[in-house]
Symmetry: C2
Subunit: 154 residues, 2 copies
């Protein structure tokens, strides 16, 4: 029993946030929320970029890699938005304060991006590069729309 508790304590420690309210995606500190969403955006950007390199012909189309990329972007596009919590506009973040002042617009751009990324995910998993080319540009634009308004480079 002692060993089990110690593993659980370890688990909470590595998660970097003492519960309560994990399940509601809350954070012990605002910087934990920043760290979390940066993690999600890093994976989203990397795997979207991986597909972009195939679309652009910089690397050969690889259906196995595309399927992984498709899985990752589908999930990663949904995760970070719970983490724009109050007070997390400070520190190591590229999020502009306008996000918290223009929630309706930000949410609208989020929804559009998620819809476009879902199309790219499906196309990436279809194993057909032409499918991917057909939907990639609009998804890239949907990322850019938000970055242009709400992201500054660190």
């Amino acid at each position: 029993m002692k060993k089990k508790l110690s593993v659980l304590a370890f688990t909470l420690a590595i998660a970097g946030a003492a519960a309560p309210a994990f399940a509601q995606q809350q954070y012990a500190k605002a910087e934990d929320a920043v760290h979390y969403r940066r993690g999600a955006f890093t994976l989203l950007g990397y795997h979207f970029g991986s597909l972009g390199a195939m679309v652009q012909g910089k690397v050969p189309f690889n259906s196995a890699q595309a399927a992984i990329d498709g899985d990752v972007i589908a999930i990663a596009s949904k995760l970070p938005f719970h983490a724009f919590v109050e007070g997390s506009d400070k520190g190591q973040t590229g999020a502009k304060p306008e996000i918290w002042k223009e929630q309706a617009k930000f949410t609208d751009l989020r929804d559009k991006m998620q819809a476009e990324v879902a199309k790219v995910s499906a196309a990436a998993k279809s194993g057909n590069l032409d499918n991917l080319k057909a939907v990639f540009g609009a998804a890239g634009q949907s990322c850019k729309n938000c970055h242009d308004n709400y992201r500054r480079r660190l």
Copy 2:
């Protein structure tokens, strides 16, 4: 056409790594690899911790959240290991240099962790807290085995 290319250029820029060889999970700079694997471990830790809080009774069991957690940990447990590339033992990383000297042991611990996390993922998605409790401790131990050997706190 010009617009399309510009979105593609943007895509590669946000991915933070100029191809070639995205699909082979290579990185323009070693610090990109560090950033990528930290992103994956952050999501893994957070969502594993979310399940841990339910197992421990710190938050009520929430089957919808558990299903999301299960999806994320299944993917996130597989992603970071491609990113322990040569030269990425420096900078903002908690990875100990022993990783690159003890590849067989590191790989073995990785495989065991991934197998245990797959069990937790399935249990999390079953909607049954008892299933989750039955497999959670061993998975936590499998994380800890690697951290004890190969991770230092930043």
